[in-house]
């Protein structure tokens, strides 16, 4: 049984079912996730939704212009191969991330990073081309030994043979089937009580459910519906974590009708978010009016909300000149109030939301034609079609959460950067506030600016932000441990999150 160490087998093993196989264990390939158990970053996500020092000592220290940031390191850290971690490794890691030849997908998170230097073995200096107050929240990349950062992200030795300073090391990887992590003997912290974490790759949700029930696994990520069905079954409990993972419908302003803020406001009023949370998310989530979520702490204004008000939506539309026409669809100057809405074909949640939005909007005379696409199709159609967007990839600073989604510098449709500001939203006041917040060092001042942004967004919504999710997991044996804690999760989820996000700190309950 999980949790309780069996008398004859003192090792505590946790067996978790992951939704897909990891392509790589290279920390430069993914921001969070399972690599976080193998590698340590300068900073790491903490339970309260902030980033806290990990390899670093204290917060990064910016210069006055916010373009040079200094980070001090702990000096007793060794990698799992026995070598010592020093500033050189940190510098190499971040230099490599932004090196186009290495082609790390994480480069997007460091738009202004010019260079990184190791001042001395425990001091690293980052230089930026622009002042960037959100910079500390991005310093979560796992640090790898400088020698291992060769080649490209495609053929890096770290992909299969990770070398990190984290609490666990890779013990075994049965391609396509499972992966086993074991407590690292060289870890600087206390040896984890959970000595072994087995991650099985079980792509299908039903199968995950059944194997969870059969006792093959101790935990898995599941959809709300599937998780709910498991509550209390065979010792399983449902764990739901708040997240920054929101879903929204983009409203591309290249569609003439959607260029009118009144129409966009009407559409926001017409959708029944409560029903979506209840019906589709089974209660695991909350209505959302803007891309801001609890993960942004003080910067989040929970009072900015839309009430579901069909009558007012209809009135707004009528006022904007859209009169009911043939087949119940509103018309204006011979044009019908209708637009296509894309969703990822393989994503059931986005499909359901798309259908619900179409259903709700039909009631106020707006025709929405849902369309299933793949990512290539989505990128190609983003300029002229609405899309069920997912957000919250880097939520631990408001800037990384919303800037590219709202700033007008991303408004022009670029098929290579289709997901940035997909509504082609231009709002000078929002631009001004977002830019100012990048330059401010005062957290309270920044939070205020972002709350102002939300007020502007409420009147001139760039999209229909629908819901923010709670990520749901089913697990058993959690009460066998002390130290199980909740965390605010980013868009990403999986067994590296959920109740197991801090598994290395768990203690066997007395």
């Amino acid at each position: 049984a999980p949790g309780e160490p069996a008398p004859d087998d003192p090792a505590v093993t946790l067996r978790l079912a992951e939704t897909s196989e990891y392509p790589s264990l290279n920390p430069l390939d993914a921001m969070f996730g399972i690599t976080g158990k193998i590698y340590d970053g300068l900073y790491a996500v903490a339970a309260d939704g902030t980033v806290a020092p990990d390899l670093a000592v204290g917060d990064p220290e910016p210069d006055a212009s916010l373009t040079t940031w200094t980070v001090r390191l702990q000096d007793d850290v060794v990698f799992s191969d026995g070598s010592t971690l020093d500033a050189q490794d940190v510098a190499a890691t971040y230099t490599t991330v932004v090196d186009p030849r290495y082609a790390s997908p994480l480069a997007s998170s460091f738009p202004f990073l010019v260079d990184v230097t190791a001042v001395d073995p425990t001091t690293v200096e980052f230089r930026l081309s622009e002042p960037y107050a959100a910079f500390p929240s991005t310093l979560t990349v796992g640090v790898a030994p400088a020698e291992a950062l060769t080649g490209t992200v495609l053929d890096s030795p770290l992909n299969r043979e990770p070398v990190g300073s984290g609490p666990y090391v890779l013990e075994q990887w049965q391609a396509g089937e499972s992966l086993t992590l074991a407590a690292s003997p060289t870890y600087r912290g206390e040896a984890p009580a959970v000595e072994r974490v087995v991650v099985g790759f079980v792509l299908d949700e039903n199968v995950r459910t059944q194997r969870l029930r059969s006792g093959d696994f101790d935990g898995a990520q599941l959809s709300p519906r599937a998780a709910q069905a498991l509550e209390g079954v065979d010792g399983l409990t449902v764990v739901a974590h708040p997240s920054a993972d929101y879903r929204a419908v983009t409203l591309p302003q290249s569609v003439p009708a959607l260029a009118d803020p009144a129409v966009r406001r009407a559409l926001n009023l017409a959708v029944d978010r409560e029903a979506m949370v209840e019906g589709i998310l089974r209660g695991y989530g909350a209505p959302a009016a803007t891309p801001f979520t609890v993960a942004q702490g003080d910067a989040f204004d929970p009072d900015v909300q839309y009430e579901h008000d069909t009558a007012q939506a209809a009135a707004l539309l009528a006022e904007a000149g859209w009169a009911p026409g043939a087949g119940g669809v509103r018309e204006k100057d011979g044009a019908r109030l209708s637009f296509p809405l894309m969703y990822f074909a393989e994503d059931a949640l986005r499909r359901d939301l798309a259908l619900a939005v179409a259903s709700d909007l039909a009631e106020v005379g707006v025709q929405v034609d849902v369309e299933a696409v793949d990512s290539a199709g989505a990128a190609a159609g983003m300029g002229s079609k609405a899309f069920v967007l997912g957000g919250g990839d880097q939520p631990y600073d408001p800037d990384t959460q919303v800037y590219t989604a709202l700033h007008s510098s991303y408004a022009a449709y670029d098929p290579d950067d289709a997901y940035s500001n997909p509504s082609q939203y231009v709002q000078p006041e929002v631009d001004r506030l977002l830019d100012a917040a990048r330059r401010s060092t005062d957290p309270d001042e920044r939070a205020g600016m972002y709350r102002d942004v939300q007020q502007v967004l409420a009147d001139d919504p760039p999209m229909i932000t629908l819901v923010v999710l709670e990520h749901t997991y089913a697990a058993r044996g959690l009460d066998g441990f002390d130290g199980v804690q909740e965390v605010v999760e980013p868009h990403e989820h999986g067994v590296a999150w959920g109740p197991w996000w801090n598994v290395e700190t768990w203690q066997v309950a007395s």
Binding site: N206, A226, L355, A356, S359, A362, G377
Partner: protein, 298 residues
């Protein structure tokens, strides 16, 4: 079973022998084929009529349109909704009819096309013989060697989300099997006395094939073709499962089954039972009808 008959001065008391040899009566076979056809006809009627009736009368929640309701979704079968509703609150009775329409059409067209091409090529190849035959068969080998799934995925990614993609995938990947089957049978048949007789009487290749060879291949081709129909739906389901089939919001057997399997472990058994049941009934009817209908004439 016995009956009497006068023969000359005597009365013959007829009975049936204890054991017999040979093929079944065509009569009994035809009767069974008819039974399958009737049930099959009912299924077709359901698929065609129900959506029409629903939109005309508003029964079973009307034609559906865009309305979904996730909050009260997934209701068990009732008089208002004979097959229950799905997770989005849509009536399964009407949706299944739509799905059946779409999927059966695609499956029938796909399998008919592949049976046609396969039979034509297989027979032609066998009858031509020699180098032409060898060349053709190597071509078939080449085609058959490409993993079907791969071909299916590639075709589906190019022509994403259309019914004709499924038809194309089925037709493109399955004619080779029929070709091999038909060719093998024809190769062995063409050495038979009656075929040689037909050739000696000046029958052209086409005529001999049509009248003296293909009818004997019928039973096997019928089985192969009928098997292709559920198989086509199976392909559709697989593609949908991989996110490459018909758009998940559009009713087709593949998408209904895919949707249902997402909620089957949460207790909504009816969402799975209805489409799978209909698929099974339709297939069994088709299979039995084809199998009996084209069995050897006795």
């Amino acid at each position: 079973m016995s009956s009497d008959q006068r023969v000359g001065a005597d009365v013959v008391r007829w009975t049936t022998p204890g054991d017999v040899h040979g093929e079944a009566h065509t009569g009994a076979r035809a009767r069974r084929a008819r039974g399958a056809l009737i049930v099959g006809g009912l299924v077709v009627l359901y698929a065609v009529l129900v959506p029409v009736v629903a939109s005309a009368t508003g029964w079973w929640g009307g034609a559906g349109g865009r309305a979904v309701d996730y909050v009260t979704g997934s209701t068990a079968p009732s008089t208002a909704h004979p097959f229950g509703t799905d997770v989005a609150g849509r009536d399964m009775f009407v949706r299944c009819a739509r799905a059946l329409q779409v999927s059966l059409l695609a499956a029938l067209v796909g399998s008919a096309a592949s049976a046609f091409v396969g039979t034509l090529l297989g027979a032609t190849s066998a009858v031509l013989g020699g180098r032409a035959d060898r060349l053709l068969m190597r071509g078939v080998d080449a085609f058959a060697a490409v993993p079907h799934l791969l071909l299916g995925i590639l075709v589906a990614t190019v022509y994403r989300g259309s019914l004709w993609t499924v038809v194309l995938v089925v037709a493109v990947t399955h004619w080779t099997a029929t070709t091999r089957l038909v060719r093998g049978e024809v190769l062995s048949l063409r050495e038979r006395g009656w075929v040689r007789a037909a050739v000696s009487q000046g029958g052209s290749r086409a005529r001999v094939l049509r009248h003296h060879v293909l009818p004997h291949v019928g039973a096997q081709v019928a089985v192969a073709t009928a098997l292709l129909v559920p198989h086509a739906v199976w392909h559709e389901t697989t593609l949908t499962f991989l996110g490459l089939g018909l758009p998940p919001h559009q009713a087709s057997l593949g998408s209904l089954i895919d949707l249902a399997q997402q909620s089957v472990t949460t207790g909504a058994w009816w969402t799975l039972v209805a489409p799978v049941g209909l698929l099974v009934v339709a297939t069994v009817c088709l299979g039995l009808a084809m199998q009996r209908g084209t069995g050897r004439a006795g």
